[in-house]
Symmetry: C2
Subunit: 475 residues, 2 copies
């Protein structure tokens, strides 16, 4: 298939994200926290799905003020999209009914197919995929969480955010995609489209990646993959994608035992770590090594201005923390240049700092006033040698009463956000009591609302910054 045909084929996936009506098969009438049909219904209701919803169950009844239809054929409306949360053995019949109803897209949350690792599972997956294809129905899954797209209220968690950003994510694992969405919420990283593929018996990672290349709402793409369905095509699409937008990719199943786990998780055959790393490098994509690292990098890709050098300044509180900050940043390949005597003298004057402070870069300010702290940051940000700033605040060190002073420091930083937020990363050190945790989360919210990328450890911030610089060919 030529690039052109393939691209036009996948631009057509747009309709998947804009259903006017959704039927959910497998909605129990009785309230049950583990009924997956209810979980989907609640997700769509909570996240403000704009279209019409039709729960299905052979027992009929009512739920959340909606009629439960016994069969999709009884629904008195067109159905654009179906979510299957029924046992695997009933799915051939469901798909046949969907075909009769004229449905064009089915998301199969249902598990119990090729991931079982037996002939029965593989045959059943082939059977349902065959029925769908015969009738021109596209399948998402089986054994995947499906689609998240806040703009139309598509969601697979009742607590999914209603806000949309510009990062999109293709994941073979549902758990990992949920984790990425939720971890993102805590730091203001909102996804545009998240696609949890599962076994990907019909639409696969290459199809959605092609679609996202051309998606104007998506400015950066992340992928979690265990094994690929069409290896050559995927690498071609990945190469093309990485030329157009930043693509971050995390490969699961890189060890023998991990690979054994992918086989029973999504029925994928995984390759070796070394081969994958070198293939990824050749495509120009950015390799990540955990879900947190995906989010860490996506934050910078969607929030930061392009860098011009490796020179960073580290400003924070705590002598031990400053030593470790310098070690961590240098080890990650960043440069922490010493400040000249003149700048150090200006900082001493501005902050009226206590004994124990240090101004050599890392700068360790303790006992400065809020305005002194803010002016020190402005002075350092204005120093021409410095490209990026890391500000770290030890919410983990202070006592519960001192925490509110740190919140005041944080508010003080938000006042100069427009000057510095596109080149400053803020680290709120791991916190160690319920009050500190709550204050750090409050601080994180103030900061990300002011447009700052926020991290919970220096390690993670330094690693993400280093990969961001590498992506911009600064290393």
């Amino acid at each position: 298939m030529s690039d052109r045909q393939s691209s036009s084929r996948n631009r057509s996936l747009e309709y998947l994200f804009h259903p006017r009506s959704i039927a959910i098969a497998g909605v129990s009438r009785k309230l049950d926290a583990w009924n997956h049909g209810q979980m989907y219904l609640n997700s769509l209701l909570n996240c403000g799905f704009r279209g019409r919803l039709y729960p299905l169950n052979p027992g009929g009844g009512e739920i959340s003020g909606l009629t439960i239809y016994r069969n999709i054929r009884e629904v008195p409306d067109n159905v654009d999209y179906v979510i299957s949360a029924i046992p695997a053995r009933f799915t051939p019949k469901l798909i046949a009914d969907c075909a009769a109803k004229g449905v064009k897209a089915i998301h199969m949350f249902t598990a119990g197919f090729s991931e079982l690792g037996n002939d029965h599972g593989r045959r059943l997956e082939q059977e349902v995929t065959g029925i769908a294809r015969k009738h021109g129905i596209r399948l998402i899954g089986p054994n995947g969480m499906g689609l998240h797209y806040a703009k139309t209220g598509l969601a697979f968690r009742p607590d999914a955010p209603r806000q949309a950003g510009t990062a999109s994510f293709i994941s073979q694992s549902g758990g990992n995609s949920m984790y990425a969405i939720r971890e993102g919420v805590l730091r203001g990283l909102y996804f545009n489209k998240v696609i949890s593929l599962g076994n990907a018996s019909d639409l696969n990672e290459a199809d959605f990646l092609e679609y996202l290349i051309d998606d104007p709402e998506t400015t950066a793409i992340a992928i979690y993959i265990e094994g690929v369905k069409e290896g050559q095509r995927f690498l071609q699409v990945l190469r093309r994608a990485a030329r157009i937008k930043p693509v971050v990719i995390y490969k699961g199943g890189i060890t023998e035992s991990g690979s054994r786990a992918t086989a029973s998780h999504t029925g994928s055959i995984a390759g070796s770590a070394v081969i994958w790393s070198s293939l990824i490098k050749q495509t120009g994509a950015i390799e990540a090594h955990s879900i947190e690292e995906i989010n860490d990098i996506m934050l910078l890709l969607t929030m930061m201005s392009p860098p011009s050098s490796k020179n960073i300044a580290i400003v924070g509180m705590g002598g031990g923390a400053s030593v470790l900050a310098a070690d961590i940043c240098s080890s990650a390949g960043l440069t922490v240049p010493a400040f000249p005597a003149e700048l150090r003298q200006q900082l001493v004057e501005i902050t009226a700092a206590e004994a124990g402070s240090s101004f050599h870069n890392p700068v360790d300010i303790f006992g400065s006033s809020r305005s002194g702290f803010r002016r020190a940051i402005q002075l350092i940000a204005g120093y021409p040698l410095i490209d990026r700033l890391i500000i770290h605040i030890p919410f983990g060190y202070v006592t519960d009463d001192q925490v509110r002073f740190f919140l005041e420091f944080v508010k003080s930083i938000t006042k100069i956000a427009p000057e510095i937020n596109r080149r400053t990363v803020i680290v709120l050190h791991s916190t160690t009591s319920p009050a500190n945790k709550q204050a750090a989360q409050e601080a994180a919210e103030l900061l990300y609302e002011a447009g700052f990328a926020v991290y919970s450890s220096l390690d993670r911030a330094a690693r993400a910054l280093s990969q961001f610089l590498h992506y911009h060919h600064i290393d």
Copy 2:
């Protein structure tokens, strides 16, 4: 000095941890969250210090029902131990007054000495150390947090735990020692003695390490160090310590900029990373690379039975999480052997698992009952090939309503704690909402009270386990 002399010299440090009376210089009369004298007073009061307390301030007055004396010479009692939280320029006079009073130990929290990096600071440090030595007074610090020892109520944080464990910690950084104590509390790791040394102008890391070798209450020792005062002696003592008890060491200031930061933090000259790593290896100590990693390893050293092989079983929930768990453990050098068909069949029957579960090791159980989950763990723990278990529970994935089901699983595990807790590590995956965080913390408490080592990520658990096995010569 011979080993014998040096050992008897430092056994005598015992008295530092058992003062009958403490005077604190620099206690403001007016309530102030940043007055360090008050911080020490509150720490000792909150942590149940059993002796008599004498706040000092030239202004006199009263605080917390205690008389503030204007000068230590006015205190109508013997004073065993003094904490200095006054400005550096007043300390020579304080030490001279302490000598007149017959004080034998002073902890100098006061900063503004050699860490300033100027002649003035170095000279002042020499001066106060000289005065102390002339009068037979031992100094802790300056520029350090001092001593934490819950058994007598010595503490340098108002929120320090009152419970004592068997791990002890020598730290050049106060912030890092506070962080270790507080992070430990969240997972049931209680320290026996924590010594925050600061500039260590008199008593240094080698002195306290010698003391801890002979301390019967200490079963494992951790050290955070930026640079050593007596290099040869420290390495000798470290070698001797590591032959007797496990010693974990983390060296800060291993990069050029980190080294610059240590100079202004505690006035230390740091060496290169490679030299340090190889020196540490030669001594038989365990090298750590962060404060969290120190705690991660100390947990295993103080809680686990000795291992007999590298073979682990991974049991948890979530397909993606299982794939990553297997990758992480294998990459950390652990072995995740496949289970035989017979064991897998037994697990299927016991758990009555849902489609999507997998029993190959990693075992991914979803939808099992509590008792099925517990019986599966017992069966796996009894399988002769398996030495250690990692149980992981995805508190980060589930919705807020589902969280309580996970708490029930956790309670179910605590029922079989005596059978498995000395060879099982539990990971409660990073959590992503306030309700999940609270539930995960509640779960962590139930688990550590039942004697389990609890981790917040698979990465950290696998790395600690790998270092623990290495320490026991299994690799």
